[in-house]
């Protein structure tokens, strides 16, 4: 028994010790034929395994888009579930190539931890949900309200800051377990429920007795720009991830979708021609094939499609575009020109 187990363990360890990393990430990814992404262990709409164990979500599609651009196939991806504490170590140690794990872009994470953030794929923020019948239209009308909040999160301190900054008072109802916070809110024990807006939407979709009875107010109590993260000092790879995001946003702006991308190849618009590789040159600048953006759009979709499918109108979460609308429609999504 002694020999058997030690032998087995030794065998297993040898089998799994990874190969040495040679050069920058882009070369490694091309050589291995797989993009390894760090994702959450389960957050609806962003990255969550479905009943068949397949990861889905807006972060997962960001990872798939990078794989489509680099390897020409969005399915050449591997998802490594990372906890909040593990995620940065995994990226630093090279265990993952990109972190697509709804991570907020902050100064210290770039300055101190040595990372770079791609353009956000979702602008989240702490919001407030109320029952529709209360008739509240703005968070500024919540003076004196009882607010349900989960304890031990930054949400709790943001809530205090927000009400203080707006010179309002509130009665907090602090509960440790999310499930019980939700029960308290939906049974009417508090006037409002605060959490990240995407979290509020997920709760409304899955837990509210009737989702249409609840509204998420437009105000945002804290900024949470969520973006893909890569290591500093590997500029080629950073450019690939960054321009993957821009290509998806530009495609939506130009009306290029996964459905019409083949017809769009005949378009006279020079920007679309450059994007889809009809006029070559763009792919080469990124060290990718000329069909990099075409493959992203064809196989994964443009930003609007990804949004609608995972968190927007076609998903259970039913979030509206809000800040995540294109800049032409009052949002913040602005793709840099592909030229």
């Amino acid at each position: 028994m002694i020999k058997a187990t030690t032998l087995a363990v030794a065998l297993v360890m040898v089998a799994f010790a990874g190969p040495a990393l040679a050069g920058p990430t882009l070369d490694k990814v091309k050589k291995n034929g797989v993009v390894t992404c760090g994702v959450t262990t389960g957050l609806a709409g962003f990255s969550i395994p479905d009943r068949q164990g397949k990861y889905t979500g807006i972060d997962v599609d960001t990872c798939r888009a990078v794989a489509a651009a680099v390897l020409g196939d969005p399915d050449k991806t591997k998802y490594v579930p990372a906890t909040t504490q593990q995620r940065f170590t995994m990226l630093q140690s090279g265990e993952i190539d990109i972190l697509t794990r709804n991570t907020t872009w902050t100064l210290t994470r770039e300055g101190d931890l040595g990372f770079l953030f791609a353009p956000p794929n979702y602008y989240d923020g702490q919001g407030f949900m109320v029952a529709k019948k209360a008739g509240v239209k703005s968070a500024k009308e919540l003076d004196g309200a009882t607010v349900c909040v989960q304890s031990g999160t930054t949400t709790e301190s943001n809530l205090t800051d927000y009400f203080r900054a707006n010179k309002m008072t509130f009665k907090p109802l602090v509960i440790e377990r999310l499930d019980e916070v939700e029960n308290a809110f939906y049974s009417g024990r508090c006037d409002s429920f605060t959490a990240d807006r995407s979290g509020l939407a997920a709760s409304r979709a899955g837990k509210a007795p009737n989702p249409d009875d609840y509204v998420i107010l437009p105000e945002i109590a804290s900024k949470e720009p969520l973006a893909a993260v890569v290591r500093q000092g590997d500029d080629e790879w950073f450019e690939v991830v960054r321009w993957t995001m821009f290509a998806m946003i530009d495609a939506e702006e130009k009306g290029v979708t996964s459905q019409n991308v083949d017809e769009m190849k005949k378009s006279d618009d020079p920007e679309i021609q450059r994007m889809l590789g009809v006029k070559p040159g763009m792919g080469k600048s990124l060290h990718l094939g000329e069909d990099w953006a075409y493959t992203i759009i064809k196989r994964v979709g443009n930003y609007g499609e990804i949004f609608d499918r995972n968190v927007g109108k076609d998903s259970a979460l039913k979030l509206d575009r809000g800040l995540n609308a294109l800049w032409t429609q009052g949002g913040l999504m602005y793709g840099m020109p592909i030229r």
Partner: protein, 349 residues
């Protein structure tokens, strides 16, 4: 008649005992009724999604439809659905190996058990990982749910056990350096929470490794658990060693047995059979402790269960998911404790 007499003698012998019996009886009946009412009478057995299920039960009963829809994910997690038969065989194989090893008739020689485990582990590894015999490769990050829980607890304990024997012997060694090393290791590892060891293995270790060298997350957690269990088991075994009368050691010396012979033939067989109850106790605790690997991003049985209840369609069926998982854990832990009882009885004879 016998039952009435027994009840009178034990349950109703005095005013206070009668009151206590009635109150306790009422509470038990009430609890049992609530469980039946929730779990059977008002329960919903099939529904297309969570909302529909809640509409059927009216929040007064269990929604077992959730388990019906999600049991495969809870049991096997992200293991590819078409390949889950492989994981199922591995689960059966692991349980089979443990059950067979429990048969005392096999203990007379080390060979049968060694052979069973070598073959069993190689077969399970091939089944899980694939890549040969036309089986598609399933990488370790997809080894989730019950197979992972069994894999971690069985292999970590099996690996820790020999190490623990060495540490326990080392702690009682006459050589100061060996003794100091053993004591140092045991006290250091036992003195920190298991979570911090997992954390070190999973979060700190990769930072110390040279760039590009990655040890699989599963192996890191496995080795971390193994090192911790070794220290815990060593102390249990040391208790057994100390319980053996000095006369036994002296008798062995007088017979001219070498240290190895003395340990193997006289000391260990007695020490281990005394320590069976605390050993099984440690095994049960260790089996449940494997749920802590959730903090290093491994999907064990408990993590897959708590993951399934965050799905937007099936959100918040905490009780159903946890009852399901608790039932699985109970079956394993209860069998272990029954086995230890039967072992104790047979060694007493």
């Amino acid at each position: 008649m016998k039952a009435i007499a027994w009840a009178r003698a034990n349950l109703f012998n005095g005013v206070w005992n009668t009151i206590l019996t009635l109150v306790a009886g009422y509470l038990i009946a009430r609890g049992a009724w609530m469980a039946i009412d929730w779990g059977l009478i008002h329960a919903a057995w099939s529904a297309p999604d969570g909302r529909a299920c809640r509409a059927i039960t009216n929040d007064e009963g269990a929604c077992w439809a959730f388990i019906e829809q999600w049991y495969r994910f809870i049991l096997f997690g992200r293991f590819p659905p078409g390949e889950q038969w492989r994981a199922l065989i591995v689960v059966i194989l692991f349980i089979g190996m443990v059950v067979v090893s429990c048969d005392r008739r096999l203990w007379r020689s080390a060979w049968p058990i060694t052979a069973i485990w070598v073959v069993g582990l190689i077969v399970s590894f091939i089944l899980m990982h694939g890549g040969v015999l036309g089986l598609p490769v399933v990488t370790t990050d997809l080894w989730n749910g019950l197979p992972l829980t069994l894999f971690l607890s069985v292999i970590a304990l099996a690996g820790a056990f020999p190490l623990a024997i060495l540490l326990a012997l080392g702690r009682r060694s006459d050589y100061p350096i060996i003794r100091a090393l053993s004591v140092g290791y045991i006290e250091l590892v036992r003195g920190v929470p298991i979570i911090s060891i997992l954390f070190m293995a999973s979060v700190m270790l990769p930072l110390f490794l040279p760039a590009g060298v990655n040890i699989d997350n599963l192996i890191r957690a496995l080795v971390g658990l193994m090192l911790f269990y070794a220290a815990a088991l060593a102390e249990v075994i040391r208790g057994g060693l100390q319980a053996i009368p000095t006369g036994q050691y002296e008798a062995a010396d007088v017979l001219g047995l070498s240290f190895g012979q003395k340990t193997r033939l006289v000391v260990l067989p007695q020490a281990l059979s005394i320590t069976i109850p605390p050993l099984v106790n440690t095994f049960i605790a260790a089996f449940k402790d494997t749920t802590l690997v959730t903090i290093v991003g491994l999907f064990d049985l408990l993590t897959t269960a708590s993951n399934s209840i965050t799905d937007p369609q099936w959100r918040g069926f905490y009780v159903e998911a946890y009852v399901f998982v608790a039932a699985i854990y109970f079956v394993f832990c209860f069998s272990m404790s029954r086995y230890s009882r039967s072992l104790e009885r047979s060694t007493e004879r």
